[in-house]
């Protein structure tokens, strides 16, 4: 599969989707004006990945900020990975947050409530 490697900007996140090296990561900030446009290629990639995923996928979320429109798309991404779990493969979400970022921890916990995927919470060191 092709590798997605998008460099972040002040309002869009870094995204790495690399099946061959088992590297799945989204980091930085996400507050694009047009959320759908930014995430469309990412959703397409994940759709394709879901058809033939690795036995074990570890997805790192290292977001420092996302707006509410992005929060909806992040849920859509997680729901895709939930399907992969339902199809018998292993998925772990590593949710990174800074120690004083209670809101970011809470956001992760909210997603973990909604989707049936194991979450690990990891404190980011500055």
């Amino acid at each position: 599969m092709e590798v997605i490697n998008i460099k972040g900007t002040e309002d869009t996140p870094n995204v790495i989707l690399d099946k061959e090296n088992g590297h799945f990561e989204i980091s930085g900030r996400s507050l694009p004006e047009d959320v759908n446009m930014f995430f469309e290629p990412i959703m397409d990639w994940i759709d394709e990945y879901a058809e033939d995923p690795l036995d074990k996928t570890v997805f790192d979320f290292k977001l420092e900020y996302f707006n509410t429109a992005s929060s909806k798309v992040i849920l859509d991404i997680l729901l895709k990975f939930e399907e992969i779990v339902e199809n018998g493969k292993e998925v772990t979400i590593k949710w990174h947050y800074h120690e004083d970022e209670e809101d970011m921890l809470e956001a992760g916990e909210e997603y973990a409530d909604i989707v049936e995927i194991p979450f690990e919470y990891i404190v980011l060191e500055d």
Binding site: E10, V35, N36, Y65, T68, A69, K72, V73, L75, D103
Partner: protein, 190 residues
């Protein structure tokens, strides 16, 4: 002619100085009236972020101010209506702080027909505690569709959830078609 210009210049100077004084007294960090675009949103949030970083504000408060500003500005750029004939999404934005709190005040024109639904959303959000807000947010994320404007109906819930304060709002009727909508979000400094 010359004298008139001088008078004009003088009164502008007075006005500018009065405004400067008033902003100082009321500890207003930022005032803006005009078109609200993604570029403006990025500029103001990064400006506020830099100013806050220089201050001794806790990271948590800094992030909350940033967060609420983004949601408020994107609300205007997505939902603001206009005075007759204008296509652009305009609004006012003001950030002020006192000893105990930051206030982020935004204002924009809204069609009267949209007010009942907006009022209902605001009242619902204000009637909920933190746990219920979180439940509503999750429900809305699951069930809500992104509108063609990219809104998810989550902004107000999120502001209330992040600030832990009630949303304060006012509508001022301008004519039979439109009103001015003011939203004040308060972030407590701890």
């Amino acid at each position: 002619m010359g004298e008139m210009n001088e008078n004009k210049g003088h009164s502008f100077l007075d006005f500018a100085y009065q405004m400067y004084k008033s902003m100082k007294t009321n500890e207003i960090n930022l005032v803006y009236e005009g078109v609200v675009t993604q570029e403006i949103t990025k500029t103001f949030t990064s400006l506020t972020e830099k100013n806050l970083a220089k201050s001794e504000e806790s990271n948590m408060v800094q992030r909350k101010v940033f967060h609420v500003m983004v949601e408020c500005l994107q609300n205007i750029s997505k939902h603001a209506d206009s005075l007759e004939g204008e296509e652009e999404k305009r609004g006012i934005v003001m950030v002020s702080h006192g000893k105990d709190e930051y206030n982020i005040i935004t204002g924009n024109v809204i069609k009267n027909e949209k007010i009942p639904a907006l009022k209902e959303s605001l009242e619902t959000v204000n009637s909920l505690d933190k746990e219920d807000l979180s439940a509503l947010y999750k429900k809305q994320m699951r069930e809500g569709r992104l509108s063609d404007k990219g809104g998810a109906g989550l902004g107000l819930i999120d502001i209330a959830k992040k600030t832990g304060s009630k949303l304060s709002y006012q509508f001022k009727e301008l004519n039979d078609d439109i009103s001015f909508f003011i939203l004040t979000s308060t972030i407590k400094r701890k």
